[in-house]
Symmetry: C2
Subunit: 372 residues, 2 copies
């Protein structure tokens, strides 16, 4: 299992660089999510500023990825703290900022392209008294410890916690390969054992996340995290499954065409889970280190991938597939080989364009405080 988990840590990464197919160029829905979470983030920062602030405030962004979104939350948090300190007549604090993602993340592009842009923007917006900001990149899984004890004041994690530390091991069990046959995530036809495997893996991972942070975050420290989640108890609802069904159908199509072996598809499952929001609340209460201050649901329209534009179904399908490709490419290449990528995403575009179903993309924003 350790091996499976460390394999995922190497494979799971958004597409790096700045090219047309990069995550940097195809992460509009994630940006929309982040923007929608700003009111909760703002509330958390203002509450935090009501406490006694240290001279150097340590902020971590967990699952920062590589793109224009990498510095989004950090820009908001630092600017809000700076503004609040000015209002309160406090001298401006220093910021120590840790950007975390798995080791396969494209940190080079973060440091070479997005860090200069962040420094320029934040300096221009806040003036010369702002900062300094000391920036670090932290490679590693947030399901384990990443920072020394009692070292973080404010933690953010945006649209990352739905990625599991590994595919639930029951689904990779070679003696039982049919448990989620032809599917790559929970689907209406998935057996109860597959659904349960996903739920158990999420609970285990999310509890590990909370336990690691409970040691790293100072008492009174704040944490805001957003993740894809379900508003409904039903784990097979379209809200969380439709897109994975589409991708599973596209893979099945390639099996029929002889481009993918059936067994390859049967052993491919996404290291991903969209939990029911009530489950998340239960886990926070059970782990016990954090008080839940606020929970908001963000529901974005089906065409969020168009960046606010209204488009026909075909264009929406193309844009959505670019986003899905930037997210899934590294995992699909690793399992099926690079040669399936082009036909797969062509078929996926056609499948999505031909359907008329539209479900909202749902994200939950949690704001918690580390108990004293």
């Amino acid at each position: 299992m350790e091996k499976e988990s460390s394999k995922i840590n190497q494979i799971l990464s958004m597409k790096g660089g700045l090219g047309e197919e990069s995550y940097a160029k195809n992460s509009k829905p994630q940006r929309a999510n982040l923007s929608s979470s700003v009111p909760v983030l703002k509330q958390a920062v203002l509450d935090f500023c009501d406490t006694e602030l240290p001279h150097c405030i340590t902020i971590a962004d967990l699952g920062c990825s590589s793109g224009p979104n990498t510095f989004f939350a950090v820009t908001q948090i630092t600017s809000l703290i700076y503004e609040r300190c000015s209002q309160l007549g406090l001298s401006p604090p220093e910021f120590s900022i840790f950007l975390n993602d798995l080791p396969g993340n494209d940190f080079n592009t973060v440091f070479q392209s997005f860090l200069p842009a962040f420094k320029e923007k934040i300096g221009a917006e806040n003036g010369s008294d702002f900062g300094p900001c000391y920036i670090s990149g932290v490679p590693g899984s947030f399901y384990g410890r990443l920072f020394p004890s009692n070292s973080l004041h404010f933690v953010h994690s945006g649209t990352s916690l739905h990625w599991l530390s590994q595919v639930p091991p029951e689904l990779n069990d070679k003696s039982n390969p049919l448990i989620n046959k032809g599917k790559i995530y929970i689907s209406k036809t998935s057996p109860a054992a597959a659904i349960e495997a996903y739920q158990i893996q999420f609970q285990k991972d999310f509890c590990s996340f909370l336990m690691a942070r409970s040691t790293e975050v100072v008492p009174g420290g704040r944490m805001v995290f957003t993740l894809k989640a379900r508003r409904f108890a039903d784990p097979t609802a379209d809200e969380s499954c439709l897109i994975w069904d589409y991708l599973g159908q596209a893979l099945q199509d390639l099996v029929l065409k002889g481009l993918i072996e059936e067994e390859k598809l049967d052993t491919y499952n996404a290291p991903y889970h969209e939990p029911y929001v009530e489950e998340i609340k239960t886990e926070i209460a059970k782990e016990g280190s954090f008080t839940l201050n606020c929970l908001e649901i963000i529901a974005l329209p089906w065409d969020a991938c168009n960046g606010g534009m209204k488009c026909d179904r075909e264009t929406t399908a193309k844009n959505l597939v670019r986003v899905l490709k930037a997210i899934n490419e590294s995992m699909i290449r690793s399992h099926f080989g690079a040669e399936v990528l082009d036909p797969l995403f062509q078929v996926l575009t056609a499948i999505i364009a031909a359907d008329t179903k539209e479900v909202e993309h749902v994200t939950a924003v949690f704001y918690v405080t580390r108990k004293d």
Copy 2:
């Protein structure tokens, strides 16, 4: 000047990746230097362990590059501290490790290839009680602030401080392009103004380095740094100039062949300086925040690039040029274009192979303590 300096920060980087021409594969002389500095490093660690140790020890390696040397000093420092704590009956500390280099450094390869190797090695050598080690990458110039005040306990910088923050501005003065005509660093024919420009730039940069660290390192914190330096007062001694003369000759050869414009060569100078060790001592005393505990001179033989093997002059030339290429390629490509690289390093190999001169490669190791 700010612009020149930030340009260097983008351009100056050792060749990334793991290929045959990478710095990772061509940094044997630097490794030999690091190995030779271990006795001083060990003394500094033992002295440090005689002070009251914090539960989490913060270590920074400045100019870490990307290769097998990246974790060399960190491995030594953490293992020595762990061993000493065991001897003293103290509980093992946690380590927070910051790896710094310019933003152009290949941090992706550090995180994906050398970090797993480090973790495996250090775990195997020290046993299960060792650590944890929290690793961060810090992009930025060590001539400015990189860390919060009073946040570092132990600092190391290996064979990096001879790289300047910029080419001395006098040498880039378009109204006076002849100041170091046909040369790319101090040479026997360099005018006094060029030599002085290099010395002043070094003093300014080194003072900035000390001032930044004086704020970041806790009182009683230790710093060990190695840099190329001269044993003799003469700034044109072969010891520090011969290799740059060879590279300058190779560039001149390409000017004669019409592959490089003369003006291009006249405006190219290395952002590099090998100071006289006495100058460094003077600067440390002048800045005033650090006590000099120890200074050692390391003199490696001309054929250190062969990794301890005895080779003929031609093989040594080839190996030396591979090292020089891994170091200089990014800067030369940026100024002259990629097309000069192959002919240039072929000519350079021939020039070095044809000569019989051999000088030692000299490095100075300084061990200092932050005053209370």
